[in-house]
Amino acid sequence: MQSVIDVFLQGFILVPLVLGIYLSYEVMKVTDLTVEGSFVLGAAVYARLIIESVNPVLALFIAISSGSLAGIAVGFIQRHDKIDSLIAGILMIFMLYSINLQIMGSPNLTTYNHTTVLTYLSYVFLDNAGFVFSALYAFLCIAAVYLLLNVQLGLRIRAYGDNKNLLYRLGHNPEKYRLIGLAFSNALAAGSGALTCQIYGFTDINMGFGIALTAIAAWLIGIQTMKKVFRYKNFSVRIDCVACLMGALLYYLIVTLFLRIGVNPIYLKLLVGLILVILLKVMSNKNRKPWENNC
């Protein structure tokens, strides 16, 4: 039973990050790995502010905002596609490492003895506070992304990913929507980092290592599963949001299952990667060859 709760807990923590990856990778069609740095940034800012006795809710808000600043910064680096989004993201992770270290003052910080948002919730939910908080947080983020993509701003962020030139010819500045989209995406990642810091009570400078790829893996598992289940091909915010949740939960379910059957943790990422390759191969159109016409 504890394993199931752990799967849900870890899955819920990952959900905001998967939503961030979904926004950049799927909606905006930008391969932005900055989330790996902004995840740690969110955790670092939150831990530092909590240690400095700042109000936990305000600290959470500032941590999330710091992520959106990182998103805006990488948006400026990518501006007019002069620097490839992948390279810009890697550069940003590189720079954020120093910034995060500067914020933290040491490679790791603990927040055990300090008051966080989780502390307030633990008065009501006692031992289940972590689970309730991460679940609430995940569903809030899902609701926020769902709402965003259903209003005009979200439609224009989607339009950026679909056809930048047409967006420009309709009189909108595509760069504006690149910045807004990346700001949302990285704010979600920073939110995920701040949540991790609260649940586990510490922040480590290396806690973001590989987290972007974990989120991409979770997103792919989620979306491919949903496509198989619902047999849909159109863009649907509703199904995509559920896919983010499902993906995060399934990812940790797979990891937990491997650990339960005694797989050496060293091989964990290799096995998850292989499962992903098999999943993508199985779910793709088996009969189509790239040199053949679709018709």
């Binding site: 439609l155 339009a159 679909d162 056809n163 047409l166 010819r169 309709l170 009189g171 863009f235």
Partner: protein
């Protein structure tokens, strides 16, 4: 409001990467209500001319005046309200991963779902009933004719003063192509929209154009207006 809508003066455009002159001393006038047709062989500079009018390329010499003002002096948002474009590549005119309705919403200043449903009915129904019923279908799933009709309907939601058509029927079969052309002409006349069309179809050029320009190596090599009857054979000499 003057009679003249667009004036192109000694326009020159040189490709930045190989210094090739694509447009060479082009001058032409477009009056309100005109249907200008530009013909020419591939690489003659037809699409570059439309791209220059559409602010897609920055020309090296000359000027383009819209309503007697240089187009560079217009803010993009203001300019693209006055000038709409439909190209042969519909990926440039439509958001392919959007539904028909979402494409419609992208053309509106503000979204108010309920009112916009009625607006959608009013705008799309006169063009094609079947598209109206495919409201939630992704644009990439529509047929070529449906996409072209939708692109035309969407371009006219906020009626532009100038409509640029870049071989917009070239990918369609002759029957659908004729239908789209008839629809374009009737809408244009009904709403008093000025048109500049680039085409390889000489029949359309002779049938619809009240001014015809032929381009060759970036220069205007032939011009004809209503007072100067043009035949298809005559145009063939300059185009192929």
């Amino acid at each position: 409001m003057g009679k003249q809508l667009l004036k192109i003066k000694n326009l020159e455009y040189i490709l930045p990467h190989n210094n090739q002159k694509v447009l060479d001393n082009i001058s032409l006038d477009v009056d309100r209500g005109d249907f200008i047709v530009v013909v020419g062989h591939n690489g003659s500079g037809k699409s570059s001319l439309l791209n220059a009018i559409n602010k897609n390329i920055s020309f090296s010499k000359g000027d383009i005046l819209f309503d007697s003002k240089p187009i560079k002096s217009f803010a993009n948002k203001e300019y693209f309200k006055k000038v709409a474009t439909i190209t042969q590549n519909l990926k440039e005119s439509l958001f392919e991963s959007f539904s028909v309705f979402e494409n419609f919403l992208m053309r509106l200043e503000k979204i108010t779902r309920k009112a916009d449903n009625d607006l959608f009915y009013d705008f799309i129904m006169p063009y094609n009933e079947s598209i109206f019923y495919k409201k939630n279908v992704m644009v990439s799933k529509l047929s070529g004719g449906e996409k072209q009709t939708l692109a035309l309907a969407l371009a006219l939601i906020n009626p532009p003063e100038l409509l640029l058509l870049d071989e917009h029927t070239s990918a369609l079969d002759p029957k659908i192509s004729d239908k789209i052309m008839d629809m374009t002409i009737s809408v244009m006349k009904e709403r008093n929209i000025t048109c500049v069309m680039v085409t390889h179809n000489l029949e359309y050029a002779v049938k619809y154009g009240n001014k015809i320009y032929a381009l060759q190596d970036g220069k205007i090599c032939y011009y004809s207006d209503k007072n100067n009857e043009t035949s298809k054979q005559e145009l063939l000499k300059y185009c192929f």
